[in-house]
Amino acid sequence: MMRNVGGVIVLSLLLVFVQLAAGESFSPPGTPKNIICRSPEKETFTCWWEPGSDGGLPTTYALYYRKENSDTVYECPDYKTAGKNSCFFNKNDTSIWVTYNITVVATNALGRAFSDPVEIDVVYIVMPNPPEEVTVTVIEDTNWPFLRVSWEPPEKADTRSGWITLIYELRIKLENEDEWEVHPAGQQKVFNIFSLRPDSTYHVQVRCKPDHGFWSEWSGTTFVKVPDYFPRERSMWILIAVFAAFIILTFTFIWLSYMKIHNLKHYVLPPVPGPKIKGFDKKALKNGKFEDIFSSLVVSDFPPTTSNYEDFIVENLEVFVPEEQELIMEDSKDLQDDSIKSENSTCDNDSGRGSCDSHTLLIDKGGGDKEEALQSDQEGSQDERVPTSPEEVMEEDLLACCDEKNSPDISEKVKFTPSLISPLPRYNLMNQPNPPEIGKKHCLSDSLLNPDSLPSYFTQPPSTKNDFRSNPWECNFNHKQHPLHPQTTGKEHLQVQNEISWVHVDRTEASLGVQAPSVRSTEYVEVQRVSGGNMVLLHPVSAGQENSGTMSHQTEHYSRVKTVNNDSGLLLLQKESTGEEMGICLSEEEVESRATSNGYTASITPTSEKPMVGINSTLPILDDRMASGYVDTATMFGLPTY
């Protein structure tokens, strides 16, 4: 016995000595650390500790605990169930609402080490197991499938009796993502997830926690694949359609508002031009008396037999005087006065803007050029207007010099209503194969006769029977020319749109010149003769010449009609050379072939191939004032002084 003890001591000393000789040092064990106790179901619990250094010697660990209000020290009943360095307390050893004081002791050959005591209450260390039986299904009842996640509480946790109350939480993510989407689920065991991405795989995990405790570990990942689906949201398409329609309507309204209603109306419903037939009684037409209407159109002495063109010289030029001057026409005793006057103030719808307030009046700027109202000294005065004597006319024209009254353009301009220039079908003397004697056509500008007393360059003698004045700018041939009318109608002639109103300058002593607006001088051109084949001889009346009348009578000037505007204008080519005859020769070909500078072109049905004779220079007639579409004959006839 003593030997044994001695032997052991010697051995241990030798061992220590050997170890010391070997350079190693033995030490008492380090203190165990981090004692963690957990209870999965609030019925049992387990404690784990972290052993310290063992000091190089085999070390044993022991766990001792004390319950509150008791000094009895108990040792851990089970070291094995929970694994290494653990202690398992079973149900019999577990008390709830009782504070445990737990200490772990490490022992080796050299010493002992006591860990720090840990106080636990089982109630507050509950960490359940993860939920079990996590199932995820894809519900595809509607166009929008969703996921339904369901699970069961961990087996050990007794939630049925209410001993443990668990709340759950789940998280989901796409397969290739890193971020989880966490959804708290409360105490329910079912959860729906919407807004899925089609044709993708999701990962789902669930965990739980008692009302006072720790979260469990996440359950195992459950994979679910969402099938491919196309969400057809009907309401979305309806919304898109409504929105698109709204946008289209908005743009349409904006476009319509920009487009002037007037233009639109004209675009959709172009105005129907009224009949501009001299002698055509609209009212009679309305009454239904066709016989009277057509009979009025028939002129007895058509075609004119006289070859002297002078017979057809119409010397009616009406000049609109300024406000303080009366209209020339007012003095007229012509039969047409009333009608004219009545129509003076009316603005024909067909006449366009020029009929009423056209600014395409020439302004007489020339020093000596004055507007004069030329009056016709026609043989037949039955249809003549402007009874005023040339002297009177001249007088008034002088007064109506636009130089003096230059302020408002309108007052000093000769307003040519479209009718003045508009070629009336029956006035298609050009179409006459042999219209040798075509009297001058008096173009009356109704607008000139408006109460404003606007000076007018030309006056249009009304026809004998023209009580109708749809177009104030009608150019009426003198009575002698009336016979031409019916024939013209029967002839192939200018198209309606190519009505050419003849504007002629009366040979008056008035030295008026109709000039282009640019020249600012007006000259009167007198239609001397209308030759066959669409030729109109214009006789310029040189301004400032007393005997212009005679001279004009003698001279003839041919001016080529450049273009004929659609029922509005006649563009004449002005011949530069003075003294030359100037006439208006209408040649459809030429007219057609030429385009005005302003673009006033009128296509005239060619009935005569005779080219124009005496080409004159282009009349700088067209200007912006003719933008209204009506050519002022005055402007057309802007001629240099002859």
Partner: protein
């Protein structure tokens, strides 16, 4: 308002032929109230503990073991088995006693922050609710045998034994005990409720 609900429930109890549904609702109300009280106690305790230096925390932990809670005299089941073995009425009565035992000491807890001031009235309301529940379930159960235990607990002795030396320690004890007792009541009431509910799966 709580009293109104409770009164209404009592009236319904008297008239209705389905007392179980009413008691379930009353249980739910009581459980939610005690849960709130428990959370409050937990928060107060953790605040108090965090306000202490670490060293004192350890000391207090050690001391706590040697002291008693004022409600220790009340014998209550301390594990699941015992709890499930107890009847609903017993659970209710124990809960009632626990709550009642804190009615007086909770006034010492009051003062300072507003949550502390709410403890006493809430305890009172909870006590009334539990009493109603007891009366509602007492018909089905036999009369409580040991009515003597319903009397006021001799907690006054406890406080007389205590020497008001360390207010810090006392506060610590009060808060810890309060927290524990509230959790007890919560557990008992939850178990009692789940036992009475017809659904097997007591997840409410």
């Amino acid at each position: 308002m709580d009293r109104a609900i409770l009164l209404l429930s009592v009236m319904c109890l008297g008239v209705s032929s389905q007392p179980i549904t009413d008691s379930q609702r009353m249980f739910s109300i009581a459980v939610s109230r005690v849960q709130h009280l428990h959370l409050l106690a937990q928060r107060l305790f953790s605040e108090f503990e965090s306000s202490l230096p670490t060293e004192e925390q350890r000391q207090l932990n050690k001391i706590f073991l040697q002291d008693f809670c004022n409600s220790d005299y009340i014998i209550s089941p301390i594990d699941k088995h015992e709890t499930q073995r107890s009847s609903v009425l017993k659970l209710l009565s124990i809960s009632y006693r626990l709550v009642e035992s804190w009615e007086f000491p909770s006034r010492s807890l009051s003062g300072g922050s507003s949550p502390r001031n709410q403890i006493s009235p809430k305890l009172f309301d909870l006590k009334s609710g539990i009493l109603h529940l007891i009366r509602a379930n007492q018909d089905a159960e036999e009369l409580f045998p040991d009515t003597s235990t319903l009397q006021l607990a001799p907690y006054g002795n406890y406080y007389q034994s205590l020497q008001a030396d360390d207010s810090l320690r006392r506060n610590y004890e009060l808060l810890a005990c309060f927290k524990k007792d509230m959790h007890k009541v919560e557990t008992y009431l939850t178990v009692a409720k789940c036992r009475l509910s017809p659904e097997a799966n007591c997840t409410l």
